[in-house]
């Protein structure tokens, strides 16, 4: 596959990697079967090819959709860059170059980070989170929720009278 560091190149490299892995699996299965192993036992060696396949489908869909719907953008690229680290076999120079581009894209996304998650339009009731509410009153909400804890219902919990006090007084 031609590797040029572009998203299309990344997808092609994934396809090449997946094809290589499947090919290796088939070879391995055949070798093992030839040496007497059952066909079923040989399947155990094939999970990596499945992971690559899922990544390809996922990457391809997101890239194609990004192209047609949103325009090529930093979000899609960041995702593709992230994946290439994990599974693709590429050169050191490629990795250094991609790492630089990846970091540049993080900076590009930075101003839009909140907008990108606001776009999901998860209402506060659905998020159900002290940290994630739309108004960002994080600390106020944390405190409000903390005060609802049943342990705050009385100033001194009964465990003090039942256990701690006798313990302190050596009466246990």
């Amino acid at each position: 596959a031609s590797w040029d560091g572009s998203p299309d190149g990344i997808i092609k490299s994934f396809q090449a990697t997946a094809a290589g892995k499947i090919s290796a699996c088939v070879t391995s299965i055949r070798k093992r079967v030839k040496s007497g192993m059952t066909f079923e036992d040989a399947w155990e060696l094939t999970t990596h090819s499945s992971i690559s396949e899922a990544d390809i489908i996922s990457l391809q869909q997101r890239y194609e959709e990004h192209l047609t719907l949103i325009r090529p953008n930093a979000v899609g690229l960041v995702d593709a860059f992230e994946h290439r680290d994990e599974h693709s076999s590429i050169s050191e120079a490629d990795i250094i170059s991609l790492q630089q581009r990846y970091e540049e894209h993080l900076t590009l996304i930075r101003p839009n980070a909140v907008g990108l998650v606001d776009a999901f339009e998860h209402r506060d009731e659905i998020l159900n989170s002290t940290l994630g509410a739309y108004d960002g009153r994080v600390y106020e909400r944390l405190m409000e929720e903390a005060l609802k804890s049943p342990l705050n219902a009385e100033p001194v919990n009964q465990s003090f009278h039942k256990y701690l006090k006798p313990f302190f007084q050596g009466k246990l």
Binding site: A18, S58, Q61, E82, A119, E121, E125, L142
Partner: protein
């Protein structure tokens, strides 16, 4: 609104609405979703006086049942009136999304609507559907989905539970001969008396105890002591038992009987996307508000969102949430296309759908769980609070990695398909479009 968050919104340089419309599948859908959410949530019925996490296990379950009933009433009385069942659909993303306002953990009705109803739709004959579906949709009955056994997996022929047909009474006699044959993880159990809710004679049911998540569903064990059910109650669309006990295989393709399972796996990709989107919304907003450290002496603490390490943690999650959503939309379109083919008698694409839904379910739920945990870590100690909702999201999604086909098992199923595809390509036969790259690889020996 917190000033830092307000500033973030001011400097955003793209049209947020445009993206929302894309996520919802069009402006019309966004408008309808907002309206439905208003109807369901503005009455405040989803609110709890005491946080759910502060309740005992029994109180949590009782509260979830209370809210399930409330929510079902809202759906039946208000939402269906507004949209009509046709357009809303019981498994619609809006219903799923809105229900999260009611259930921090899980709805006790989830299995009924998520598995039982689709199974009736997929496995019952038209006559059986006419009898059971209205009752199930109207919540006159609540069904379960009892498959896994305590000591065994889901290999149907390897299970110990027996169902012996008695032609004299035209009944199946269900029996659990050993402890290991007890059904485990069944949900929303309803094999009980309609009035008193007492277990019927010959039925042993109970709760299996606290779990990592899913604690507000009536997940339980189920055993049969020669319990009898009528022959007509066997779902007979794909396999039939005649009155004399003769077994008739109706389905033209063996995998058709796995229809509900494939449907659920397809839906779970969307589930993974939705929950990751929630987690990253929480983590990004928090990271805009939270300030930390003093990188330059005398300067104020920066927003943690300004640190590249934080961006690395979070932006991958944003990208993946969008990616999973797009993948899920594509998988859903593929699923509906395959269903259309099946209705016309074509089963060629079924193995591919089975493989695709298997590997995408495995990867999306696994990635989503890992990234939700990354969101929690991105929120430091505050993310450890249950009130952040991040631990709930994690425990919920990590369950989806396990059920309806564990991660590794599903990858192995996909592997089987891939190896067969390679062999097809090697033999010069055509392969499915998603694997067309294999032909080039085989030719080029790369």
């Amino acid at each position: 609104v917190n000033e830092d968050l307000a500033k973030e919104r001011r400097k955003c340089n793209f049209d947020i609405q445009e993206l929302t419309f894309i996520i919802d599948g069009g402006e019309k859908n966004t408008i309808a979703r907002r309206k439905i959410e208003d109807i369901a949530l503005n009455g405040g019925a989803s609110l709890d006086k005491i946080p759910e996490e502060c309740l005992s296990p029994t109180e949590k379950y009782e509260n979830a049942v209370r809210k399930s009933v409330l929510y079902s009433k809202i759906v039946k009385d208000e939402l269906l009136e507004f949209t009509g069942l046709e357009s809303l659909g019981l498994n619609s993303p809006v219903i799923r999304r809105t229900s999260d306002a009611f259930f921090k953990d899980i709805s006790p009705f989830l299995l009924h609507l998520g598995m039982f109803v689709p199974t009736i739709m997929g496995q019952c004959t038209a006559e059986q559907q006419a009898y059971w579906l209205p009752r199930a949709l109207d919540m006159q009955i609540i069904g379960t989905y009892a498959q896994t056994e305590l000591g065994h997996g889901t290999f149907i022929r390897g299970l110990e539970t027996t169902a012996t047909y008695d032609p004299d009474t035209e009944e199946f006699v269900l029996h659990s001969p050993t402890l290991t044959s007890y059904k485990w993880w069944a949900g929303g159990l309803q094999i009980r008396d309609k009035e008193t809710h007492m277990p019927l004679p010959g039925i042993k049911v109970g709760d299996i105890g606290p779990k990592m998540g899913f604690n507000t569903a009536d997940n339980g064990f189920l055993g049969f002591d020669k319990f009898r059910i009528p022959r007509e109650h066997l779902m007979m669309k794909n396999a039939e038992i005649l009155k004399d006990g003769t077994y008739v295989k109706v389905a033209r393709h063996g995998k058709l009987t796995y229809g509900t399972m494939v449907f659920v796996r397809v839906v779970l990709v969307s589930e993974a996307a939705f929950n990751l989107a929630k987690a990253i919304t929480i983590a990004v907003r928090y990271s805009a508000v939270r300030r930390q450290s003093e990188p330059r002496p005398g300067q104020p603490e920066p927003q943690i969102l300004d640190y590249m390490t934080q961006q690395h943690k979070l932006f991958i999650c944003i990208a993946t949430a969008h990616a999973l959503q797009l993948t899920s939309d594509w998988l859903w379109r593929t699923f509906t296309a395959v269903l259309k083919d099946l209705r016309e008698g074509h089963t060629d694409s079924l193995p591919e759908l089975h493989a695709l839904s298997s590997c995408l379910k495995a990867i999306s739920t696994s990635d989503s769980a890992a990234l939700i945990e990354q969101c929690r870590l991105a929120c430091g100690g505050h993310g450890y609070m249950l009130s952040s909702n991040l631990p709930f999201l994690y425990s919920f999604v990590t369950a989806t990695r396990t059920y309806e086909g564990d991660y590794t098992v599903l990858l192995l199923q996909t592997a089987r398909f891939l190896v067969k595809a390679w062999e097809q390509a090697e033999a010069g036969n055509p392969v499915t479009p998603t694997l067309s790259y294999l032909c080039d690889a085989v030719k080029g020996k790369k």
